[in-house]
């Protein structure tokens, strides 16, 4: 029977690989694969083909730390292994504390439909599930190896790292199943959830407390160090995790970590036996404790299927499932601009915090805190740092925000058929759909601008001309431009979705892989380039009033204020004209859009 299950898994995997290879015949996947492949090569694989480079990277890290007066331990491995074991303990403790439902094995809906009615024993199903999880563990181990291979403190080589990660993932997978089965048995025998949680947490806390009490005086946590020397801290972590009873609890976990942290091939081979022993014990534990998991597994498969379907059909993120309706953000009358109906609808689809009242409260809070900071001499030293962080945050929101605020045509593209039956021109649909992310991002950027205005205090004489009046005028000008700028930014991903729906849909619905990574990178570069090209004319025309002022030698306060006002209006005019053109073009494209033709495989 296991052969049939193995056949299913291997055949599915082979067909998946073949389908991925076949679709490279389409340019959208081929170009994406080339870009994605280049990315993976230059950032991950190139390091594998050369010497590990650990020494060079280690030297560079030491040099960087020396510049900020931080002393690093001479040997990271013991401390890293200790921290890794503690992390595993935390994860495994969570597996005993968090579960609230009966044990379920992660079958897909298709697996449930075909395997559960089939003449297969429960134990075979467990084996099939364990076998399936091994495929995931192998993929996860390979991916993590690409990252961990860049860690300068590790010894070993890519192969030992990959095998080490496989041991870690396998142990966690098996422990999750074993804990689930055991907890279900305990629940069936009358142990309630809260009693079980209290017992587990109390046991772990007792172990930690006894260990801390037994720690020798000389090994206490070095809190009073004058400089930032990490060596005593590393020594303390190693001592703590080696002291009984915590040390006993962590021994099996350190065995699991052994192959990963092995500095050379000989010690890797030595570490294999204990790690295999832990995995074997876990396996027998899972197989012997397996309880009736069918009901919970069916329920799990259905919930997972619904989440994936929701994710593929629209903009909803995994894990977010609306459970009950919300109060509308504002009253929507039957008559009025239809575009506002999209704002109303899309606000309902996002977090409930995006309301004028919430933004007003945040603005009030920023004003109070900002004013207070300005009156506290002890805190004034932090203001430039806060201003710099605020500026970086604003830049991040402006550039990356449109990728997160997707409550626009992108999230409704799968419902294009419905939208197209509405008696609206295409530009009205695109405009209406854009209003919600524009409102959200504008609100956030206005708050950032307010924070910046309160914290920007240049100390050098070069900025003496930045009087409070000029700063206020500048802030108002930027505030006026922000909505247009955000609108323009949002038109770019909307254009990508409408002009290349095939690319857009496949980049988010057909799973991962180098080609999908490449497609996303192409989108990002295209957005940045388009934005630069769109902003250049506005910047050029906006500079004209200042140029005229300088030519006319009218650089006094009145001249600057007048040129600033004219510049703002010019920039706003150009940006709004670009937005209008964009809406008109995209509206036309939306009217002609035929998803059934665009998404043909």
């Amino acid at each position: 029977m296991l052969n049939a299950l193995l056949y299913l898994r291997l055949t599915s995997f082979r067909n998946w690989l073949l389908s991925r290879a076949r679709r490279l015949r389409q340019p959208k996947y081929l170009v994406g694969a080339i870009v994605g492949g280049a990315y993976f090569y230059f950032f991950f694989f190139r390091g594998l083909s050369r010497a590990t480079g650990g020494g060079a990277r280690r030297a560079a890290a030491d040099q960087a730390m020396a510049t900020v007066n931080v002393t690093l331990p001479t040997d990271w491995l013991p401390a890293a292994a200790a921290v890794g074991a503690v992390l595993l303990l935390v994860l495994m403790t969570a597996m005993w504390v968090i579960p609230t439902q009966r044990a379920a094995l992660g079958f897909s809906e298709a697996e449930v439909a075909f395997l559960f009615p089939a003449p297969i024993t429960r134990r075979s199903l467990v084996h099939f599930r364990l076998l399936s999880s091994q495929f995931r563990s192998l993929v996860g181990a390979t991916i993590m190896m690409l990252f961990s291979n860049r860690w300068s403190f590790l010894g070993g080589n890519p192969l030992t790292h990959a095998i080490g990660w496989w041991f870690i993932f396998s142990a966690l997978n098996l422990h999750l199943s074993g804990a689930g089965f055991t907890l279900t048995r305990l629940a069936d025998s009358g142990l309630g959830g809260w009693r079980r949680r209290a017992f587990v947490l109390a046991a772990v806390a007792t172990v930690v407390a006894v260990t801390l009490a037994r720690l020798p005086t000389g090994e206490r946590l070095p809190l009073s160090a004058d400089d930032f020397n990490l060596q005593p801290l590393a020594d303390w972590v190693v001592a703590l995790t080696s002291t009984a009873p915590l040390g006993w609890l962590l021994w099996p976990l350190k065995w699991v970590l052994g192959p990963f942290f092995a500095p050379d091939s000989f010690r890797f081979l030595l570490a294999l036996a204990p790690a295999l022993g832990v995995i074997t014990v876990h396996y027998f534990w899972v197989v012997r404790t397996a309880v009736a998991f069918e009901d919970a597994s069916v329920d799990y498969a259905e919930r997972r299927g619904a989440r994936i379907a929701a994710w593929r059909s629209g903009g909803r993120r995994l894990g977010q499932t609306p459970t009950k309706g919300r109060v509308a953000p504002f009253r929507l009358a039957g008559l009025g601009r239809p575009e506002l109906a999209f704002l109303w609808k899309n606000l309902l689809s996002t977090w409930p915090y995006f309301t004028p009242r919430f933004f007003g409260g945040c603005a009030g809070l920023i004003a109070v805190v900002g004013f207070w900071l300005n009156t506290q001499p002890a805190w004034r030293g932090f203001l430039p740092g806060i201003a710099a962080v605020t500026l970086m945050f604003a830049g991040y929101v402006l550039i990356v925000g449109p990728q997160f605020a997707r409550q626009d045509i992108r999230s409704d593209l799968s419902r294009a058929d419905v939208l197209k039956t509405y008696p609206l021109a295409g530009w009205q649909v695109v405009l209406g759909e854009s209003l919600t992310p524009v409102a959200i991002l504008t609100g956030i950027l206005w708050l950032a601008l307010l924070m910046f205005a309160f914290t920007f205090h240049p100390a050098t004489a070069r900025f003496d001309w930045l009087t409070p009046g000029i700063r206020l005028a500048f802030a108002l000008a930027v505030a006026a431009i922000i909505p247009a700028l955000v609108s323009l930014q949002l038109l770019v991903p909307s254009a990508a979705a409408l002009l290349f729906p095939g690319w857009f849909q496949t980049s988010r619905t057909r799973g991962g892989g180098p080609e999908v990574v490449g497609q996303r990178m192409i989108f990002f570069f295209a957005q940045t380039l388009t934005m630069i090209l769109a902003v250049l004319p506005a910047a050029f025309i906006g500079a004209l009033p200042f140029a005229v002022t300088v030519l006319l030698k009218q650089t006094g306060p009145v001249g600057l204020l007048a040129s600033g006002l004219a510049s703002t209006l010019f920039v706003l005019g150009v940006l709004l004209a670009e937005v209008a053109c964009g809406l008109w073009l995209l509206g036309g494209r939306f009217e002609k859009l035929d998803l059934s033709a665009e998404l043909q495989p």
Binding site: K324, G325, R415, T421, L424, A597
Partner: protein, 243 residues
């Protein structure tokens, strides 16, 4: 009310609908039938302005769907086979949204009787995720009826409905036709078409095989048999095979 002239729809090299012409008058219910892949859904989607026709013209209530789409769409409603609802809007909020899109004044007074007619008034504050497949279908239908359209397109309107829902749906279609609506419905359920439709249009491989009153079409394919039903007519007209 619906005038279709030489309608053609192509997807790349493939022609889904080929040079189809017909007209449907107020009070008539046209049943669109054909084997799988005959072009029924493509035809319906072209009529509703969802996808552009590759050639030919479609006029709804006197408005060309290609050149005066907004006016044409004000007069029509399209009911897809699969209800496409917004996950985050309750039943009542769906109606509120649609009312604003179509500019329906006092929509509450129109929506409530519809909710009661389709028996989901008690679900008004629930999200689509809390509704059964049939209830979602009913909500999609109510959303389409809210602006009192004069032209209606139904694509497999009975999918997911329970027997009582099917009866109510058939009655609803027939009543709206009696009140002067122009209706086109596509379905594989030939007994439904026989019950509800006054006219039928048979498509095969994108081409019109026959259209007209059901009795006339039946007579054409009856071979002298006076008791031939629509199922027999369909099989004879389409040659008893798929595309």
């Amino acid at each position: 009310m619906i005038e279709v002239t030489a309608l053609t729809k192509r997807y790349g090299q493939f022609t889904a609908v080929k040079d189809v012409s017909f007209a449907v008058q107020p009070g008539e219910v046209l049943g669109l039938v054909g084997p799988n892949g005959a072009g029924k859904t493509s035809t319906l989607r072209c009529l509703a302005g969802i996808i552009p026709a590759s050639a030919g013209t479609v006029r709804i209530a006197g408005h060309d769907v290609a050149t005066d789409a907004v006016a044409a769409k004000r007069a029509l409603a399209f009911f897809p086979d699969e209800p496409r609802l917004f996950d985050y809007l309750t039943v009542r909020q769906h109606l509120n949204f649609v009312a604003r899109i179509y500019g329906v004044a006092g929509h509450e007074g129109i929506a409530q009787p519809l909710l009661e007619e389709f028996e989901i008034a008690d679900k008004a504050d629930q999200l689509p995720g809390e509704l059964s497949r049939g209830m979602k279908q009913k909500l999609a239908i109510i959303c389409g009826l809210l602006h009192e359209p004069r032209v209606m397109f139904f694509d497999e309107p009975l999918t997911g409905l329970d027997p009582l829902g099917i009866r109510r749906m058939k009655d609803s279609i027939a009543r709206r036709a009696r009140e002067g609506a122009t209706i086109v419905l596509s379905s594989h359920l030939l007994h439904l078409l026989e019950e509800v439709c006054s006219h039928v249009l048979i498509l095969k491989r994108g081409e019109k095989i026959a259209d007209g009153r059901i009795a006339d079409v039946a007579a054409r394919f009856s071979n002298g048999d006076p008791n031939v039903n629509l199922e027999e007519v369909f099989i004879r007209a389409t040659g008893g095979s798929e595309t």
